[in-house]
Structures are given as structure tokens and as C-alpha cells.
Symmetry: C2
DNA sequence: ACCATCCACTGGTCTATACCAGACGAAAAG
DNA sequence: CTTTTCGTCTGGTATAGACCAGTGGATGGT
């Protein structure tokens, strides 16, 4: 598809600056003498490649550079983004107390029905939403947690107010596609590719003290982790 | 889209076993009284979600479970897959010596034009290709490397034959889409979502001794890493 | 000056159809 | 029995058009 190649070349060559808005699909179709369906296939492919992104019914834009993120590091999201010369933002979408379902009880290591806090937050970089996260903690361990300011580092809060210190974390990641709820929060189309990242934080007794689920825009993240020596590979 | 929901429910409920072939797109279109274009959108969406996958012009199939993979761990690909009760396979696609380009020289820490070995391998799980990898090493450090059997653990080989021991690794990951070459090797359509994983292996002098680039099927992998305690998050 | 309303424009979904290209199996040739 | 040929079935790409549903700016009322 020459259309895709044309645009991909322009973007990679830096002719089009990040954030630039592309012409409407109908205009592109006419300009290149192809169907809108075809334009769409090409755009979606470039989206999958991370070159461009869309905002719901607003248009297509050239993607900004990915942010580096080390899920194993000792820096918070905000710190990490700031170090990269960009502006981080956090919004609390919801906070609630629920009775643990089967899923929550097994992942948090508590009984079904136990009180659990669920905090949902949206995080932005340079004003653009890049991930939604859902934080699960056992309510008993953090009384009154929801009354503290929740748009800051959860780990700092847990440590200073409840004496909960992270000892180890088990991190899982996999590419997936966004379902309705996180898609709406990120302001993208349902089914958009994304990266699912979960982090189970354990204390020194190997008890789960916090469970994070993060849904990242697939084009926003570049995960960097450092590993100590291996014996074989 | 009720079509997508119908199938997604069937697959998640386990009604359709992994590896099961779906009816042809045309048959599905007729059965659900929708267009083939629409069927295709739904199928591609389910593919993005990791529920199903396709083989070039052969049909659509229900995805097998993801394999767990720890890029920071002390186990090789084969060991790790075997532990999960599945069968790993490795095929050498190509091996060659080239003069380092700009890209290779900067990533390997050598001069442009220096001799570099490039080994390309395909790795399978239960017979299904899950990743293609490209291994770059400085030729001077591993004389005759290409004459050794290359379908086994590279790190073992490097250690036993050339005394090269991994001290640290820098790993990067990001979701992307497959370009023509790796797509062909994996037997999937160009533009299919994938996970790009690169691993720079450093020795005790922080010199790069090996550079791996892995292109994973996005629906085949579940990355698991373990992190030692953090101070904030 | 502010706010509510409206409407044009955007992408999102869908119908209907056509032809191309590779995979694969059956039939024909050696 | 093996090899080659060939046709059928698969997905892959494309055209042409229609309507729906939020966004956001212009418009007009207060």
C-alpha cells in the first residue's frame, strides 16, 4: 500500500511533528484516490505500529515519543516522567469500597466478601492519557485510605500512613486490546491494542499488600528493565 | 457487535478448544447474516485481544494459552517452556557475517565496518512459531561462532566456548506491528500486532557482548518479572 | 458577557461486491 | 509410486456507498 508507505516515510523522516493532526479520512481518500475503507485500514495499521493515534471522533494525530518506564525501578511514575523532561498528571477516576469477589480474594489473598478498596486513576503525559490503573488493597490493612489524597504516590502513602513497605513485586505484562471501560477512560476506540501490566506488591512476609492493574496505550510505552546476570539463555 | 460477543463468550467459556479451526469467513458471514467485511473486523478485533489467531491464507484458529516468559531469569527459552509442560523448538533461519552498520556499531559498541555475526532464529511452542530473534555479536570476540550448532542456548555456547559470561542485561520491550520480514518468518499477516523485546547483554566491564532482538507474537506471551523492593511508586 | 442550542464535521459501523494470491488436495503424467 | 499440474478454497485487498454518534464551533437568546 503506497498510501501507508507515503505517510510512514513522512512521519519517520520527521516531516510531520508529533501532535500534528492528519487530514480527515475522507480528504485522504480523495487525495490518494482510494476508498475510505482502504484509508482506514492503512491508518489502523500505522496506529498498530505506533506511528499515529486517534482521539474519539476528533481525528488522527502523529504520536509523540514513547515514555520510558521501568516497572521494577525505585522511581514513581511522576518522577520517572519528569526526569524525561515531560509533564505527568494523575486524576482519580473513582474510589470505592467493595466486598471481595472470587477474583479479588485469590489475588489479594483474603476471603471472599472481605472489604477491599478499589481506586481507579488516569495518568497522563503532556496532557495525553497514557494509562488507566486500578489499585486493589485490603481495607482492613489501610483504614481510611480513601480519605487521603489519592492523586499522589500510593507507595509513599502506604509507607508513611500504614507502615506498609514493599519487599518484592511480581509483575506480569501482556499485549491485549482495550475493553469498553478502560477504552472510554483513555478516550480511545474500543478494541485498540494496549499493554496490560499487573503488579502484585508483597511485603516481607510475602503477603500481597497491593495489587495494580495498568492498561497502557500501546504506543505510549517503552518498557526498560535491567537484569542481573543469568547463567544460561 | 453481537457476533464478536458470541464468539468471545464461546472461547472464554472453553467451549472451543485451543487450536480449533473456525469456519471460513464467508460461512460465518452467511451464518450471522452480516458482511464478510464486518466478520473480518470482528475477527481482527478478537485477534488483537489474543483470543484467536490466523495462519496465512489457511484460516482462523482458537489461540492456545500464553507461555510465561521471564526475560530477566536464569532459565533458557527451552528450559522455561519445558517447565510449563510444552514443547519448544528452535530453527536457525540464517547466519551470516556482515560489516557493522551505523546501527549495529552503536548498539554493540564497536566501529562501523567491524565484522559482526548475525544469527536469525525461529522459536516454536508446540509446533507453533511464537517468536523470531536476531542475535548480534562482535565476530572478533567469538571466532568461528557460526560453525558451532546454533539451535541451542547461545549463552551456554558463549560461556563454554568463548568464556563470555553475562553480568547484566538491559531489556527493552514495546508493543508494535510486524514488518514484512519477521511476519513472513512467523507465518502471519504483515501488520499483525506484536511485542518487540530487545536484550543487550553486558559483561563485567559493562561491554556489550550480545544483542538480541525478539519479535513475539502478541498473543503467545505473558511476561513475568520479579522485582526486588522499591522505595516509592 | 454568559450560556444553551443547533448543526456541520469527525470518525465508527455496516452493506454489497469484486478480484488477487497463496495453500492444499485431487487428478493426471511420468 | 512419485512428480507435476491444475483447480478449488482460503484469506487479503480493494471499490462504492450508506447511516449512526459524539465533538466542537457557530449561532442566537438571555
Amino acid at each position: 500500500m503506497r498510501f501507508r508507505d507515503h505517510f510512514a516515510a513522512m512521519i519517520e523522516a520527521g516531516t510531520l511533528a508529533p501532535g500534528t493532526r492528519l487530514p480527515p479520512e475522507r480528504a485522504l481518500a480523495e487525495e490518494f484516490s482510494i476508498t475510505r475503507v482502504t484509508v482506514r485500514q492503512a491508518l489502523i495499521r500505522m496506529e498498530a505500529e505506533g506511528l499515529i493515534f486517534r482521539e474519539q471522533r476528533r481525528g488522527w494525530f502523529v504520536s509523540p515519543p514513547r515514555v520510558h518506564y521501568d516497572p521494577t525501578a525505585n522511581t514513581s511514575f511522576t518522577e520517572s516522567i519528569t526526569e524525561q523532561g515531560r509533564v505527568a498528571g494523575t486524576t482519580v477516576l473513582s474510589k470505592q469500597q467493595v466486598a471481595a469477589s472470587k477474583w479479588e480474594s485469590t489475588h489479594l489473598g483474603c476471603a471472599v466478601g472481605d472489604p477491599v478498596f478499589i481506586i481507579s486513576r488516569l495518568r497522563t503525559v503532556d496532557g495525553r492519557p497514557v494509562l488507566v490503573e486500578q489499585i486493589y488493597v485490603k481495607a482492613e490493612r489501610c483504614p481510611g485510605l480513601l480519605d487521603y489524597p489519592l492523586d499522589q504516590s500510593m507507595t509513599d502513602l502506604m509507607a508513611s500512613k500504614f507502615g506498609i513497605i514493599e519487599h518484592r513485586a511480581q509483575i506480569n505484562m501482556r499485549p491485549t486490546a482495550l475493553s469498553e471501560v478502560p477504552a472510554k477512560a483513555l478516550g480511545v476506540a474500543v478494541g485498540t491494542p494496549s499493554l496490560y501490566l499487573s503488579r502484585a506488591i508483597l511485603d516481607q512476609f510475602d503477603e500481597v499488600v497491593e495489587l495494580d492493574q495498568e492498561f497502557w496505550r500501546h504506543d505510549a510505552i517503552d518498557i526498560c528493565v535491567s537484569a542481573a546476570g543469568r547463567a544460561s539463555g
